[in-house]
Symmetry: C2
Subunit: 806 residues, 2 copies
């Protein structure tokens, strides 16, 4: 009965609107796919041969080592302990077990604070959902507006709309409830935001003060050193800082343009790797010396061969050579080239960039230098905190001020056009993906589409997928734009990309979906609408699109996150590499690419859920549980990933939090404006003005928070610096800082020396220097360990290794 009624409704729809059945179908599909992903994950993760894909973090930390050298082959590849397959969701409580301080030790503050974004989502939306369901749903449901409208005209509505604000009649006094709720939700969101800001700021300061000695604490990056005819950059920097910071200056390192050198070193490394591989092969099978057809090396014999090869390419000599010898000789040649290039870079004044890393005797001195203006001309001698050595984006260090501001303009314009014109393909694809669109464009498909199930799939699934596909390539484009804009550290590049991505998502996904679906034909007229009318149009469209966003949440949020934990792409890539490319143990390590959190794409996506939750909290509270499930599920999944998989490239000390805060505020203001617009169309004229104060108060709250807490993320208080200096002087009075800092900020290619093993050592040393401190608790050393409770279910690595041992 119910279903038939719903279907009658469905057919009479004018605006394509999904009903409860569509949502049920979509939910079933998505839950099923999520479950399949999770099952697949549960099976794949406990297979030893996938170990490096699902637990790379522990390998990187050196707490787990490859089990491939010994043991029965089958056992090494497949897990035969069937008990472990039973409790396939076991990783979830395990992921939640590690306490936050240990998580910070384990994965860094960035990751720990990133997880707090999901937690914050739960903190905001769980109470809001309770309140909305307790108050707004009854208020909305006990009206007959939609039923009457249905009877009178042919207007139809889904059951979801019965629970939404659409069911409240015009001019009703009940709208006061919604206004009071809007205030309550805003107040609660702001409260949570303020608490979180405070907490994160104090976590950051504690993290910074608990850190050991690190080069970036003492170092300031100086850019735009003015050219001087008499002195080199290095001399100039030394003189300038000796004069202007006489008691604090210690040493400095100039920045070289070593991009060519870097590529040579990379080439040599690859060659060396090949030689090792053949050497290994040869050692195993000493009789068959590997040979290889090689082109005559044009580079080395260029004078003799070049002309010939140009005119008679077919005449180019090929000869069979001993591969090992060949590689060895090439490596030698490359070594020479590298040596030349290295000397050229160090000697040639043209390769010295007008930038330097200046180190100070104390943290106090560095804090002072980073926060003050040095010279009369504010575009010269620009100082700022040096990023961590591994966070530096070397290519951008030499961009002069004037060029920077032109680049910013160009990127601004490009981004504007990208955002505006990206909307057109999305809109057309979505229109095409609707039932009407398909029927119109491909009438022969009509009989197929009219099948109930397929129709529901199309209705509930395709628009989300279409959107999703469009968004895959965007982050790369945005990252390239940020790089062009000239940011100096990877963390700031990612933050900038995230901001751009968020703007893009709001304009194209949120507004785009709201307005194209409901008012695509009116888009043209919409552009010409009054500023007064825009919130109204949005307000009216918001309740109509609730079902679309519910499906979006399920596709992107539920199934997407389950796909995240399965890591299909890295899994396949790893095994492909392992099969075809991996030659040495080192290669295997490199094939295991754990990736990182991807702040530039992940965070804006979370923010979209904040936006949806806040906008629909007062309008269609039925959406809130979907959001809450997303946040909870994503929290568990990402906690697991952070503990076991991701390897952060850098540690910015949660410098991204002000952005996160600001975006939630943006979402809050958008939700208030949309509600205001909706109210004014509901002819609740006497109550609507009470909503105007909300955005004003929210923006004021934002400014208050920024003033109160933002500087913790931008500046380094002198008191802290002085405290740490004093403590350290007392603890370690004879420490010689200069050699410690001398080479901290050398371009990565100079670090390696000739030997690439050294290279690795150094980068490892750097890593251990910075944040990765081995966990202290014995029981955690081999997470996911068989904890006391679930000992039987999940085989720990140690067991696997023991099993593998003869």
């Amino acid at each position: 009965m119910f279903l038939t009624r719903v279907f009658v409704l469905f057919f009479s729809l004018k605006v394509p609107m999904a009903t409860l059945v569509d949502i049920a179908v979509s939910a079933a599909i998505n839950l099923l796919s999520a479950l399949i992903f999770l099952l697949a994950f549960a099976i794949l993760r406990i297979q030893p041969f996938n170990d490096r894909v699902y637990f790379p973090k522990w390998y990187l930390k050196g707490l787990r080592s490859s089990a491939s050298h010994s043991g029965a082959f089958v056992r090494r590849v497949v897990n035969l302990d069937f008990r472990s397959y039973i409790r396939f969701l076991n990783w979830m409580p395990e992921a939640l077990k590690m306490p936050e301080p240990e998580l910070i030790d384990h994965a860094g503050l960035d990751s720990a604070v990133y997880l707090r974004i999901y937690l914050m989502g739960l903190k905001i939306f769980v109470p809001i959902a309770f309140l909305a369901w307790a108050v707004l749903v009854p208020v909305n449901y006990t009206n007959d507006t939609l039923k009457i409208a249905q009877l009178v005209s042919n207007v139809t509505a889904s059951d979801i709309d019965k629970l939404s604000i659409s069911n409240v009649p015009l001019k009703s006094q009940r709208f006061w409830t919604h206004i009071v709720m809007a205030y309550a939700f805003t107040f609660w969101t702001c409260r949570v935001l303020l608490k979180e800001y405070e907490k994160v700021a104090s976590m950051r300061l504690q993290f910074l003060s608990a850190e050991g000695r690190r080069p970036d604490q003492f170092t300031v990056l100086v850019r735009n050193v003015p050219p001087d005819p008499d002195e080199t950059v290095s001399e100039l920097v030394e003189h300038f800082f000796l004069v202007n910071h006489p008691h604090h200056y210690l040493t400095h390192q100039v920045v070289c343009n070593a991009n060519k050198l870097a590529s040579l070193v990379k080439k040599k490394k690859s060659k060396k790797n090949w030689r090792d591989y053949y050497q290994l092969k040869n050692d195993r099978n000493p009789n068959q010396r590997p040979l290889k057809k090689v082109l005559l090396n044009i580079q080395s014999d260029i004078s003799q061969v070049a002309v010939a090869s140009y005119w008679f390419p077919w005449a180019l000599g090929r000869k069979k050579v001993d591969v090992i010898d060949h590689h060895t000789s090439e490596i030698e040649k490359l070594s020479e080239e590298i040596e030349e290039e290295r000397e050229r870079v160090l000697k040639d004044p043209k390769s010295i960039m007008p930038a330097a890393f200046v180190s100070f005797k104390t943290r106090w001195g560095a804090a002072v230098c980073a926060q003050t203006q040095q010279s009369r001309n504010p575009t010269l001698w620009l100082t700022e905190w040096a990023p961590e050595p591994r966070d530096v984006y070397w290519e951008n260090l030499a961009i002069p001020y004037m060029s920077l501001s032109v680049r910013r303009l160009i990127i601004g314009v490009v981004f504007f056009f990208l955002t505006i014109f990206f909307m057109i393909p999305i809109a057309s694809v979505q229109a095409l993906a609707s039932i009407e669109g398909i029927e119109k464009r491909a009438p022969f498909l009509k009989p197929v589409i009219e099948i109930k199930f397929i129709k529901s799939v199309i209705q509930g699934f395709l628009p989300g997928i279409a959107l999703k596909l469009f968004l895959i390539f965007l982050p790369t484009i945005l990252m390239i734009m940020s790089k062009f804009e000239g940011f100096l550290s990877i963390s700031s590049l990612e933050r900038r990309s995230a901001t751009r991505y968020y703007i893009f998502l709001i304009i194209n996904v949120f507004f785009g979906s709201i307005l194209t679906g409901a008012a695509f034909e009116q888009l043209n007229s919409f552009i010409k609408q009054s500023a007064n009318e825009i919130p109204k149009t949005i307000g009216v469209a918001v309740p109509l699109k609730a079902t679309f966003f519910i499906t979006y949440i399920m596709v992107d949020g539920w199934a997407g996150i389950a796909g995240e934990v399965l890591m299909l792409k890295p899994l396949i890539l790893y095994h492909l590499k392992n099969m075809f490319l991996v030659k040495t143990e080192k290669d295997r390590e490199e094939a295991m690419d754990p990736g990182s959190l991807g702040f530039n794409t992940g965070e804006p996506r979370i923010q979209l859920y904040f936006l949806l939750g806040l906008v629909y909290a007062t309008v269609t509270p039925i959406l809130l549980p979907f959001i809450i499930i997303f946040f909870a599920f994503a929290y568990v999944v990402f906690r697991h990933q952070i503990i076991n998989v991701y390897n952060q490239e850098y540690e910015s000390g949660a410098a991204f939090w002000p952005d996160v805060h600001g975006r939630v505020i943006t979402a809050l203001v958008i939700s208030q404006l949309a509600l205001l617009g909706l109210m004014s169309t509901k002819e609740a004229a006497q109550s609507a003005p009470f909503l105007i104060a909300l955005p004003v108060l929210t923006i004021w709250f934002h400014r208050f928070c920024q003033g109160r807490h933002k500087s913790a993320f931008v500046k380094y208080p002198l008191q802290e610096a002085m405290m740490k200096d004093t403590l350290e002087r007392a603890r370690d009075p004879n420490f010689n800082l200069k050699p410690y800092l001398q080479d901290a900020y050398i371009h990565p290619v100079f670090k390696g020396g000739d030997d690439d093993d050294e290279d690795d050592d150094l980068s490892k040393k750097l890593e251990s220097d910075s944040v990765l401190v081995p966990t202290k608790r014995q029981s955690r050393k081999n997470t996911p360990a068989p904890s006391r409770i679930s000992k039987a279910s999940s085989p720990s690595l140690s067991e696997v290794v023991k099993d593998g041992d003869p």
Copy 2:
């Protein structure tokens, strides 16, 4: 013939629009009044008894002294040298003669840079006017659009419109000229702006580095010292800075809440003055000891009399007492009270505010402390450069951070309502002041109004006056708002008020006038217009209001400036005070209130002319000469006033320039948007998009300039500080800084000691400490001096004094 034609036009007008005749009448009236003002000024200024009104600056600098003690009475009062009346405009070249460096010495950098705003107006508008007249006027004039429109329908236009863009037919290719010109004007304006920014920034840095030793160079204002149960504020401050700036901290002064003390001191001073007056009277006429009926002093005899006076007020005893004795005894009582209050303030911990002026051993130390964050909590230990001692606004020093941000919110909301609802009275008065308005509301006046001359007066004069009257009381309100908002120095109070005043002027005067006159009836519908339509509406209205703004410029700009130089209000006030209040020589000095530039009102008014000039440059170029005359005339007048009259209360080192720059940019963007709107209504569809790039480029240019130059106005580069420190150490190695800084930032009431003469000495000392350096050139010592050229015409003070001498 011409006049009749114009009048026929005039009568057929639907929208009230002034014609050439109206403008001519208005110009005549305003020129006449300006001339009368100038004549009056020429006569009044050379009368010795007005000397203190027109040349107070020289008295304040001690280069001129009162001539009232000796000489023939008539000669002391009236200038009988008739030659000096002839060349009544002689002060103009004299005002222009003083070179800029000397002007900076004489009146401070603020004043000198303020004059540059007028000069910048000339630099921008003279070339633009030439270009516009050479290109746009012919292009506009050689069309027949308006003539045809006149013939076809009854549409009418004034002759001014013939020269404006209105005369170009729809869809004409001639609009390309206007677009090219818009680019040219924007380019030229930006060029001038950039040059000026550079120049002013370098002037500021040079001024700062050329200054002698000043307490504010070594001092930082610390606010929000956290409360501590164990230590006093003073101890806390000392310990904090000894720990965190160990090598640089020198001394500090806490801030006391001495508002009550200040009022007591003021009271005592007045009493003392009265006693001196009676003493003087008595000395001249020793026989008649002055008596006075006084109420029994309730304060002193309170225990006996209070009850009686409460129940039987008529029974209060009055007795005749010797006035001098009475005052002397009262002064003694007040002295005791002051002493008590002073001790209370110094001892009572409640009167110590949680703020302090912290002084450092070097400028470098102070620069570091002012630019860095001190403590973990960014709302505690807030440091900023201390303003000059005389620039400090003492009342606001103790406002805590939280309260500050609430105050900012409140003032923001209040200002919003003030700006929006101020529009209504202006609009109604202007409607009333139009011909139609008067005829409608007072039909009996019709015969009078219809008289040609009166009609022109009403048309050309009243709207300007109505506006002007409304604006007189606004600055006071805005200043009170800024004070409430909690700014710490008078200069920043004035800057903030200026910003608010400018916003107010743009919204209410510019947009208000444009839209009320032409579209007042449509105002209601206008609010509901699309964001797209607003520039169009403005663009269409702009050319129609050209004549209104021309009269506005003449009334406010020409006659107003002439009134400024006459200084009627201070003149009358001075003579009234002199007649009734002045008792002693000191009183006379105080009665001579030279006033100051009044940045908070003056600068936004100039900016309105920039806005008008830029908006009308492409639309109605005939307006430009009026603007140029304003800038030239105002430049001369204010140069004269700055040299001879104004006495700046503070010296901020041209800290206002970024605001000035930003406002010209705002004007530029508004002009571009208005032109864009106008073009799109002209159906010049293919050319309008070319204008969109203009505002983008302009805003980018603004950001570039701010990045390039703003920090010169906000921060103090360490290089400069170090240079000055080194120089001073070499020059004066034994100078003891501590006593010099010890008392620099004591609340003004503590400075005076018991004796108010000391008070004066100190304030004078302070003044001479800061910037007022006596001019070095002998010939200037008695400006307006008889220079070699105009020796005969203007009697210098020395001549007057000599004449007065027996």
